[in-house]
């Protein structure tokens, strides 16, 4: 039996490794974006790819998001698998026209004749003290567009597995990378990475009996922390990490809420018109008779992302989650 060298690795390293392995396995995988070549990306996720695979496989493009995604469409039409990097969440907006009008619907408009296997990597979310336009949670926009898959990892192993699965997908995938987890570490073996997770499966990160926290991406560690803290108050919280927002894993979520009878959806994007509303509605529709309290949401405020010195007041933290959990005693109180 060979022993595997398990070492601490960051999420950023796991993402880079996923890109590298995908490029090595499949010559049609091409990485393109701003500063992805020589610099290795502003978060260094693409570090070393240009050196190993050459400028034609890992390309520094002109500074133009619509151009990056638009040319990726043409590349995919010719049989390549482009992986594009949007430098920051709010800088992906110039590419929305291409994303929504073409990437998301090419399969549909050609009646299945032509699909676009493009992976769009978007660093998203706050908590890193970024200035304006560097901290948006844009997942609701992507979720609202049929034809796209929307996934987001919360662990080092998932970062690798989900990115490999996204690149292998024959459909376009918006791959949201929680910025503040780039430097999160876990013991991980880069030479024998965990098997590729299928897209669309949620996972129970922590089993519990008294309520379910439904969350994803950057809020997963916060929820796990909240679950630990809640033990002191007699709550045994289950934490479900969605991993994939589209497709949505109703099965795992529903099974969990039916077990616990109570649910809180946690995310840092704004609550109004946000993912939590959709999730709460789905849970309510499927679990109404099992619910002992309304499904609650803990979300960011409905404000433009705040300046760094105020962001801690905006981001859902452990206390806000625990307050919501306390409100789940609604039935007893009323």
């Amino acid at each position: 039996m060979t022993t595997v060298a398990v070492k601490p690795a960051t999420m950023g390293q796991a993402l880079g490794r996923a890109l590298r392995d995908a490029m090595a396995d499949d010559p049609s995988v091409h990485v393109l974006g701003e500063d992805v070549g020589t610099l290795g990306g502003v978060f260094r996720v693409t570090d070393g790819l240009a050196k190993e695979f050459g400028d034609d496989r890992c390309t520094d493009t002109p500074l133009a998001e619509a151009g990056i995604l638009g040319t990726a469409v043409g590349m995919a039409m010719y049989g390549l698998r482009p992986v594009v990097e949007m430098q920051f969440d709010a800088f992906a907006y110039p590419a929305f026209e291409q994303l929504i009008s073409h990437v998301a619907r090419m399969r549909n408009r050609t009646r299945g004749g032509m699909s676009l296997p493009i992976t769009i990597r978007v660093p998203y979310g706050g908590g890193i003290g970024g200035v304006e336009h560097h901290s948006d949670s844009s997942e609701a926009y992507y979720m609202a567009t049929p034809g796209l898959h929307v996934v987001t990892p919360a662990t080092v192993a998932d970062a690798y597995g989900l990115l490999r699965a996204s690149i292998a997908s024959d459909d376009p995938v918006v791959f949201l990378e929680p910025k503040r987890l780039y430097w999160s570490k876990a013991d991980w073996n880069p030479d024998a990475p965990a098997s590729v997770e299928p897209i669309g499966k949620a996972v129970v990160r922590r089993a519990g009996r008294s309520a379910t926290l439904i969350t994803y991406g950057p809020s997963v560690p916060v929820c796990l922390e909240a679950a630990e803290a809640a033990r002191a108050e007699g709550w045994d919280l289950e934490v479900v990490d969605l991993r994939s927002l589209v497709p949505f894993d109703d099965e795992t979520v529903t099974a969990s809420v039916r077990r616990t009878g109570r649910a809180v959806v946690v995310h840092e994007s704004g609550g109004f018109g946000g993912p939590g509303g959709e999730i709460a509605a789905r849970v309510t529709e499927r679990c109404f008779h099992h619910l002992e309290a309304p499904v609650l949401r803990v979300a960011g405020f409905d404000i433009p992302y705040p300046p760094p010195m105020l962001e801690r007041h905006h981001l859902p933290g452990v206390d806000r989650i625990l307050d919501a959990v306390a409100r789940l005693q609604w039935e007893a109180e009323s």
Partner: protein, 380 residues
């Protein structure tokens, strides 16, 4: 002394980027659009090509009138006619080889048909039975594109990918004068020039973007001049002169195929009909302006040359007209058949593998359809 006058006192070593990389002079378009028909050069035009262009132009014109008639019968939701612009569409498409790709806009059905696309498939988008009526890979024609200029970066990406794979492929990307104001036009040209992608951009300047004349669209000397800023050649051609269009396009395609990079071509033409059948062109232009272009009709220009050379007698005219009529009759007959649509297709082509959400919604529609089809379910 002003600050401007003081310049020169401080002289840092210029960074290399300050040095001109490309001599702009060879990139600049000529002041006048390139013409062949009606000049002495026309005598040298290939006889076969002239006859072929003539036949295709007459077919194209007939296609336009037939499709417009189909809108009046409610068979097409809308049709943007390219009457007057047939030379740009057809002569450009004929400059491509089989392995090349065409990236058309919504107005470019004739280019697609000239490239071999089934005339009915080209109208699927406009009829409304599906968004694209053909498999793009089969014809190497991207779906007719409705959002302006967004197909241009696709052309660049495809041409770039083909070159990376070592394939001998050129992409022809078509756009209107209004479309040149869109950001995607800029981004596509810039990418193409930086990557030296084998792309030819063809702007059909037909004078208007719906109602807005070119003077309100751009302050550039010509649309072809825009090429210089990207570092690619700009070319102006008479878009009603099919031979000139074919020559200029063929040269640009050859240049691209040989690794010379992209070219921006502006074809100066005129839209003889309204923007679409739904538009009222009398609001923004005078009949006299339209009439002035009638003497410069693309079919007329070719016919003059053919007649002068003794290549167009009554028999030939009749044969060409009969061929166009046969095409129109076939188009009419097939468009008058009701397309067979399967509503379940709504869910079939969203993802490679249907999501749980879509499976549920498909089941809902299935049940609704079954209820409709039950003998006593009609009133439901």
């Amino acid at each position: 002394m002003t600050v401007m006058e003081q310049r020169g006192a401080y002289r840092p070593a210029p960074p290399p980027a300050w040095q001109l990389r490309t001599d702009p002079a060879p990139l600049l378009p000529d002041a006048e659009p390139y013409r062949v028909l009606g000049t002495d050069a026309a005598r040298k035009a290939d006889q076969e090509l002239l006859l072929r262009l003539h036949g295709e132009l007459v077919r194209g014109r007939r296609y336009n009138t037939q499709a417009t008639a189909l809108t009046k019968q409610g068979r097409l939701a809308v049709y943007p006619s390219s009457t007057g612009q047939e030379a740009c569409e057809i002569a450009a498409a004929l400059a491509l080889r089989e392995q090349d790709w065409l990236f058309p806009s919504y107005r470019d059905t004739l280019a697609a048909v000239a490239r071999g696309l089934d005339p009915v498939a080209a109208l699927t988008l406009l009829r409304g039975d599906w968004h694209t009526g053909y498999d793009p890979r089969e014809y190497r024609i991207a779906p007719l594109c409705t959002p302006l200029a967004t197909q241009l970066p696709h052309a660049v990406g495809l041409a770039h990918a083909a070159r990376l794979k070592g394939d001998d492929v050129v992409a022809l990307a078509m756009v209107g004068d209004g479309g040149t104001s869109e950001g995607d036009f800029h981004e596509a040209l810039n990418f193409a020039a930086v990557w030296q992608a084998p792309v030819v951009f063809l702007v059909q300047n037909n004078g208007f973007a719906i109602s807005v004349p070119l003077a309100k669209q751009t302050a550039a000397p010509s649309l072809a001049h825009k090429a210089v800023g990207y570092g690619m050649p700009g070319r102006l051609v008479d878009g009603n002169d099919a031979v000139a269009v074919h020559e200029v396009l063929s040269e640009a395609v050859r240049h691209a195929r040989e690794g010379g990079g992209p070219t921006l071509i502006e074809a100066v033409t005129y839209r003889m009909e309204a923007h679409t059948n739904a538009d009222d062109a009398t609001r923004y232009r005078k009949d006299a302006d339209v009439e002035a272009w009638q003497d410069h009709d693309p079919i007329l220009l070719v016919e003059r040359e053919l007649t002068e050379r003794g290549l167009l007698d009554d028999d030939r005219r009749r044969a060409v007209r009969e061929d166009a009529e046969a095409m129109a009759a076939d188009l009419r007959a097939r468009m008058n058949e009701d397309p067979a649509l399967d509503p379940m297709d709504l869910f079939t082509h969203v993802y490679a593998e249907q999501t749980g959400q879509l499976r549920e919604q498909a089941a809902q529609l299935r049940a609704e359809l079954d209820a409709e089809n039950e003998p006593d379910g009609a009133g439901r």
